[in-house]
């Protein structure tokens, strides 16, 4: 360890860490020889898709894995002390005190039957040697720091009385209260909405900086990485494939995987005419011994050597290392790739024919206590033939309810829906939207059977056609959902949606359950189909970049109302509604330069409960520029005007 | 909410507390003096002579009450009880001299002829709804010229009247005062003149008797008798072996008896307590034929069966009457086990390849081991016996109505005349009586009536003997086996004489130091 170095002193050094899961169907080498270091006060982002072993790695450091997971090798030097050799008892003096942890799902990470106070105060008493009152004061201080309103009162709350964002704040407060040297954050924002996400990230960033603690931040979202990491470690199949300073990684990624990952994310400026680069295939099955480079099957630049032996991390200049035999990864391959990456994507021009029309649509749910939730509160929308309408908004804004009403799964309380032809749906979670007891064939054929279209033989042909249309092997008709990967399932879902050749397909968060690398595949599929079949899409998502990329028009919803509507690019280029602006600001952009230029003032507060809607502008409570007028009268949205529409008194 | 729970809790607690109180009060405070603990095998059903059922209750009543006569514990003969002597010339008019200085339990005063008259009239009174009214139906008049003389006039001669007035059912003498005070609780407040009185009772667990200090024979040797209700046979046996009880009322499982005998307990018993007979219904065509009935008798080897199942509890028997009865005769045709002969008889009767019949039984008892053997043996001569199991009440009702091919009956009665009359006399033919074989043989009928009226014991005996011979010859009823009653007890418990009503007079019982 280089303690003599004045500025940089290593806090954590991990050497050749190996973690395995003994399962019935074989040993999974979740972490397969990972080495890296974190300097004091440094923020390291560990990026990777599900199954890349990033979480297992993080949990291994404090030995928080549960059976059958087990650290089988390596050293973990914290301040030069190898904590991997410590007994449970000794390790407990490290956990929570020297190293704090924030977990992914705030909903389940706090003990539901214990008040916050109990869960927070006792660790503080122990770690900072304080008496109960001091500890309590300390806890309240931290709750205040992480931005929990009236902490004196909320500290006595039960977790279930708080929103996800609030709980995550509590988690952070718990982790930081003992002034740890290192904070391990395992996907701390994945379960949260963009605006909340931004807030949380900001809190983490500032507070760790303030306390001078280093942080290890596990995520799959490159945008977030760009937003706040100093260093990045990209993991694939249990190993670090690239490691370096964030600017370097984003500016000139050296590993094909990193390169393609960055490519798959639609940027704010990307043109519709450009085809979204995608990574073909799936990550390897970790139960099997991997010979050669784990990425070889999905790598355009793969060559013989990749098949034979696994590359080690090699130096690529100033602290930048990558594990690839080719010096510059995909560069050539991409260069050649560019040509077929563009497409004859004719920009959409409306021919006036309307496929979907929603007029003054309202939906109210009566809760047990005779109170009404106004989920959808007067929505007017139109979708033209061949048009893709993107609906964005935070969870609870009513976008999904609109979709369900479109498909007749919910009956509107008032207002009417007009659909020319048939509407079909692609659900968010492909795993849940299939009957596990049915074969893929039956699933795709179901609409046909129900509507008794064609003979058995004809149906089978149709099904096979559809399945190949979505880019799957027709042999899949034999298989069952659990035998397919997430991406494959979502393709099947699309095929099923097309079975009755509908005039409009409603896709509710179709990619949010998928891994980054697969996401692009589905997006491309949808775009292609739209071109081939000329059907309209309603694309619902909180992933603004994707929505922007895929849709012709965008409707931004807030508390059951559309607050802004217009052509996708325009809305993005020049958002007029403060909420739209806030949303776009909140979106992490995979570009450290852009991120660093951004004003770090995320939208404050949370979505007010739809139980008691303000009588004025719904957004007033969170709006930076709200006036009495906003709180008094509701800004109206001129309906069914193809040009820009903004529901704000002060929209220029 | 929490409040509710507390209330609930409080409620249960108070309940518990109050109950313990009740129990501690009712639980007997046993004074010093000898105490005998006896196993009682079922829930007591009350001890009102007018409405008493089941032997175990009768045994309690037997020690609480007295009759004009009673049965000698050892010989089973009729002996004086409340009546010191009696005389009759024609079996029609009976004059009893009553015992003086007899007092009822507690302070219900002295016993006089008036009490007898009251007791008998109470039984006869339709309002009492006593099932035993018919027993006393024959009484035309009762007079008491003086408190200790009683003259009873019957409508017809009855040589067995002394049985009728014995210390049993209708024969037991009650105190008018006590009855009137008890109201509808007579069954729980029995007041008699017997050696013991009822001190306390917990119908679900125990009965406590205390000795009647002014009993006319003098106080019984044992002061307190505690009857513990133990229903399960196995448990009862263990209880005795553990010394938790001194005496087991009616142990009727061979295997238990074997164990107890082996361990040196006294096997108090009475042999030939009652006989089990098969009643064959002649309306079922094959049974109308005497040859078939004889074949049935020859087909089954009761000797070895009883030997196999329960050698101590049962033995084969060939008559409706039991050896200890005064009119019993052994000089009757017998049917030894002889399958060949049985087959031959069947052929002769015109059933070369046998027939099938149903044997009525109770589902509560199931198919007894004996019946399982019967099935086996009969099948070997080509007769197929099927069991028809019904619930007990239905069984009783159908058996009393005579609706069956075959049904078995236990004949518990000390009065041979009564047995013969009720099973052979046409007047008692089912459904009015017990004559399930629908036997109507004028010769027998005459003999019976004559015998009953005959004052001369010798002559009477001759007639009874003839009856028994004819009946055996016709194989009217299928005599199978007779059974014995056991009251196993500790060796130091003496004087447990079980009479032929399967009852023990606890006055004779003592515990040796």
């Amino acid at each position: 360890m280089n303690y003599q170095a004045p500025v940089k002193t290593t806090l954590l050094e991990v050497r050749d860490l190996r973690t395995q899961f003994q399962t019935a169907s074989g040993t999974v080498k979740a972490v397969d020889g990972v080495s890296f270091t974190i300097e004091r006060g440094e923020r390291l982002a560990v990026v990777g898709e599900s199954g890349s072993g990033k979480s297992a790695m993080a949990m291994s450091i404090l030995r928080l894995l549960t059976h059958p997971g087990r650290v089988v090798g390596g050293e973990i030097l914290l301040d030069g002390r190898d904590i991997s050799r410590l007994s449970e008892g000794q390790l407990n003096t490290v956990r929570g005190r020297l190293v704090g942890t924030v977990f992914q799902d705030p909903m389940s990470s706090l003990d539901p039957v214990m008040r916050i106070s109990r869960q927070m105060i006792e660790p503080i008493m122990r770690n900072l040697r304080l008496n109960r009152d001091q500890a309590r004061a300390e806890a309240i201080k931290w709750l205040d720091k992480v931005g929990i309103p009236e902490p004196e009162r909320r500290i006595e709350a039960y977790p279930f009385e708080m929103s996800g964002g609030m709980r995550q704040r509590v988690m952070i407060a718990m982790a930081l209260a003992s002034r740890p040297q290192l904070v391990i954050a395992d996907e701390p924002t994945t379960a949260l909405d963009v605006t909340i996400q931004a807030q949380i990230v900001e809190v983490l960033k500032t507070l760790t900086a303030e306390a001078g603690s280093a942080m290890m931040f596990i995520t799959h979202d490159l945008g977030l990485v760009a937003r706040f990491a100093h260093k990045v470690a990209v993991m694939y199949a249990g190993r670090i494939v690239e490691f370096g300073r964030v600017e370097d990684i984003f500016a000139n990624p050296a590993h094909p995987y990193t390169q393609s990952l960055l490519g798959t994310i639609p940027s704010t400026t990307m043109l519709k005419s450009e085809r979204l680069p995608q990574i073909s295939g799936l990550p390897p099955d970790m139960r099997h011994e991997i010979t050669g480079c784990a990425f070889k099957d999905r790598c355009a630049a793969a060559h013989d050597r990749c098949l034979a032996e696994a590359p080690r991390l090699t130096d690529r200049g100033h602290e930048h290392t990558a594990a690839c035999w080719t010096p510059h990864g995909l560069e050539q391959a991409l260069a050649t790739g560019q040509q077929h990456a563009t497409r004859l994507n004719k920009p959409f021009e409306p021919d006036g024919s309307v496929v979907v029309e929603l007029n003054a649509l309202r939906k109210q749910f009566a809760t047990s206590r005779k109170m009404v939730v106004r989920a959808v509160n007067g929505v007017n929308l139109r979708v033209h033939k061949g048009e893709t309408l993107g609906i964005v908004g935070e969870s609870g804004c009513g976008k999904s309810t609109v979709a369900r009403m479109l498909l007749g799964l919910e009956r509107p309380t008032s207002g009417d829906i007009f659909i020319a032809g048939l509407a079909q749906m692609v659900f968010q979670d492909p795993a849940a939207s299939f009957n596990p007891k049915m074969t893929i064939g039956d699933i795709v054929a179901e609409p046909l059977v129900v509507k008794s279209r064609g003979s058995k033989a004809e149906r089978l042909d149709t099904v096979k056609r559809l399945i190949s249309q979505v880019g799957l092997d027709p042999a899949f008709v034999e298989r069952y959902p659990h035998q397919l990967s997430g991406g494959q399932r979502q393709r099947v879902a699309v095929a099923r949606a097309l079975a009755l050749n509908p005039s409009v397909v409603v896709a509710d968060e179709p990619t949010s359950a998928l891994d980054v690398s697969v996401r692009a595949q589905i997006i491309n599929l949808l775009v292609d189909l739209k071109e081939e079949l000329g059907i309209s899409f309603v694309f619902i998502s909180h992933d603004l970049l994707t929505v922007r990329y895929i849709s012709d028009r965008i409707a931004v919803m807030y508390l059951g109302e559309v607050v802004e509507y217009g052509a996708a690019e325009e809305v993005f280029a020049d958002p007029r509604h403060p909420y739209t602006r806030a949303l776009i600001d909140a979106v992490p952009v995979p570009d450290p330069v852009v991120e660093s230029r951004r004003a770090a003032t995320p939208l404050q507060g949370e979505l007010p409960s739809p139980l008691n809607l303000p009588k004025g502008c719904a957004f007033a409570s969170r709006c930076p520029m709200a006036t009495d007028r906003c709180r008094a009268e509701k800004p109206a949205l001129p309906d069914h005007d193809l040009s820009r529409q903004v529901a704000c008194h002060y929209a220029h | 909410m929490i409040g509710n729970i507390r209330k609930l809790l409080a409620a249960t607690l108070t309940l518990l507390a109050s109950t313990m109180l009740v129990l501690t009060i009712s639980s007997p405070a046993l004074a010093q003096g000898k105490t005998l603990t006896v196993r009682f095998y079922d829930d007591p059903a009350g001890f009102d002579p007018a409405n008493i059922f089941r032997i175990e209750n009768e045994n309690i009543a037997f020690n609480i009450f007295s009759g004009l006569t009673t049965y000698d514990g050892e010989t089973g003969e009729i002996v004086p009880d409340l009546a010191v002597s009696w005389e009759t010339t024609d079996n029609k008019t009976w004059t009893f001299k009553l015992r003086e200085g007899v007092t009822f339990h507690k302070d219900y005063g002295d016993f006089t002829a008036a009490d007898v008259i009251y007791s008998f009239n109470r039984i006869k009174d339709p309002a009492t709804a006593s099932p035993y009214a018919s027993e006393l139906a024959g009484i035309v008049s009762m007079e008491a010229p003086d408190p200790y003389t009683l003259i009873i006039e019957l409508d017809a001669p009855n040589g067995n009247f002394l049985h009728t007035v014995a210390n049993y059912h209708q024969g037991q003498i009650v105190s008018q005062k006590a009855i009137e005070e008890a109201g509808d609780q007579v069954r729980w407040q029995p007041i008699g003149t017997g050696p013991y009185y009822l001190e306390s009772i917990d119908v679900s667990s125990q009965i406590v008797l205390k000795r009647h200090e002014d009993y006319y024979k003098g106080p019984a040797p044992i002061e307190t008798i505690v009857f513990n209700i133990i229903k399960d046979e196995a448990t009862a046996t263990i209880a005795l072996r553990n010394g938790e009880v001194d005496l087991v009322m009616r142990s009727n499982k061979e295997e238990n008896l074997e164990v107890l005998e082996a361990e040196g307990f006294t096997m108090n018993s009475v042999k030939d307590y009652a006989v089990v007979i098969g009643v064959l219904n002649p309306e079922f065509e094959p049974f109308a034929n005497p040859l078939v009935r004889k074949a049935m008798a020859h087909a089954v080897d009761y000797a070895s069966i009883t030997q196999a199942i329960s050698p101590s509890l049962t033995q084969p028997h060939h008559s409706m009457l039991l050896p200890w009865m005064d009119v019993y005769t052994d000089d009757v045709p017998k049917y030894e086990y002889d399958p060949e002969k049985a087959k031959a008889l069947l052929v002769e009767a015109g059933y070369p390849d046998g027939f099938t019949f149903k044997n009525l039984g109770t589902s509560a008892q199931g198919v007894t081991e004996l019946q399982q053997f019967q099935i086996d043996f009969l099948s070997q001569v080509g007769i197929n016996m099927e069991m028809e199991l019904v619930d007990t009440p239905t069984f009783n009702q159908r058996r009393n109505a005579g609706e069956f091919d075959m049904a078995s009956r236990l004949l518990p009665a000390v009065n041979p005349d009564m047995i013969l009359f009720s099973y052979l006399h046409p007047d008692n033919m089912v459904p009015n009586g017990l004559n399930g074989a629908r036997y109507d043989n004028p010769e027998v009928t005459n003999l019976l009536e004559a015998a009953r009226a005959e004052p001369d014991k010798e002559k009477a005996f001759e007639m009874y003997k003839q009856v028994q011979q004819i009946v055996a010859e016709d194989a009217v009823y299928l005599a199978t086996y007779s059974n014995n009653v056991f009251w196993p007890g500790k060796p130091e418990v003496t004087g447990v004489h079980i009479n032929y009503l399967a009852q023990v007079n606890f006055y004779d019982v003592n515990i040796a130091e």
Partner: protein, 315 residues
């Protein structure tokens, strides 16, 4: 809360009424009546009829039914038909016995099964399954032993063989120790199967909690495994366990029948059997309704307790 309780109460009322009706008319389907059962084979036609009238069995069904309902409402349990004893008195004697057996059983089985189950879960969580398997195996075997069989074996061993416990005798409330000895065997017999089930429930509940994220959180705060086990795991597992205990208590009251018969304990179960044997409708229907009532009330109580203990549940 109040609204919920009210709804639940109405539900209970309906249930109990249903039970009452069902019981009443089913009983009337049982062949034979109190009179014939009492008389045995000693009586013939008219004598029996007399007995019936005396017992009031000749009244029309509907009147009997309405009468029964009236009595229940006025909490007048009436007398046994055959022996004219106030049923309330019988119940008051039998109930505390059965209750104490049931309670003792519950307590005993909780004391044994919860630590056992927790330990099993803890080890299973660590990937060591032998105790877990052993427990399941034992539980299964115990579950499968007919209670009457087990009872007799225990009698032979502990009562006859070792002479530790009496096989019969009065329940003397004034002598607690004797009482304990007297009730020991039945309680053991009942507990065995209780332990079997309870331990397994505990094990599953605790194991589930151990896999929860918040347990990991607690570990990440540096708390020892034992502390986590008791502070978090057991606390959270307590709710499901409590419910099961409540329900099994209800079942126990019914389950005592056989044990009471074999060990000749004058409890409610024994009362019921005699009632059935003597065809004493009054007694039987009162008892069964009583059972049902108890059962329903206990369920209701457990339900409420659950709802109050779990902060997440709002009314």
């Amino acid at each position: 809360m109040a609204e919920y309780t009210a709804k639940k109460l109405v539900q209970m009322l309906i249930t109990v009424l249903g039970v009452i009706t069902l019981v009443f008319f089913t009983l009337r389907l049982i062949p034979g009546d109190a009179a014939s059962a009492m008389a045995g084979d000693t009586l013939s036609g008219e004598a029996l009829q007399a007995l019936r009238e005396q017992m009031g069995l000749d009244e029309p069904l509907v009147n009997q039914y309405l009468g029964f309902l009236r009595d229940l409402v006025t909490v007048d349990l009436g007398e046994t038909i055959t022996t004219r004893i106030p049923i309330a008195e019988l119940l008051l004697r039998a109930l505390p016995i059965t209750l104490s057996i049931a309670l003792a059983t519950i307590v005993l089985s909780i004391l044994i099964s919860i630590p056992l189950g927790t330990l099993a879960a803890f080890m299973a969580h660590k990937g060591r399954n032998w105790l877990d398997n052993g427990l399941t195996g034992a539980a299964m075997i115990i579950d499968l032993m007919p209670s009457f069989w087990m009872a007799l074996v225990l009698l032979l061993i502990f009562s006859l063989g070792l002479g530790w416990f009496p096989a019969s005798g009065q329940l003397n409330w004034s002598d607690p120790w004797a009482l304990v000895l007297r009730l020991a065997l039945p309680v053991i017999v009942l507990s065995l199967s209780q332990v079997a089930t309870l331990a397994r429930i505990t094990r599953t509940a605790v194991l589930e909690v151990l896999n929860e994220d918040y347990v990991r959180t607690a570990r990440s705060m540096g708390w020892s495994e034992l502390r986590v086990l008791f502070r978090h795991a057991l606390k959270n597992a307590a709710l499901p366990i409590a419910t099961v205990v409540g329900l099994s208590f209800g079942n126990l009251l019914g389950g005592t029948v056989i044990v009471e018969f074999i060990f000749t304990i004058p409890g409610v179960g024994n009362l019921l059997i005699s009632g059935i044997n003597s065809r004493d409708y009054q007694l039987v229907q009162t008892l069964i309704v009583f059972y049902a009532l108890l059962f329903v009330v206990i369920n209701f109580a457990t339900d409420l307790i659950y709802k109050t203990l779990d902060p997440r549940v709002q009314f």
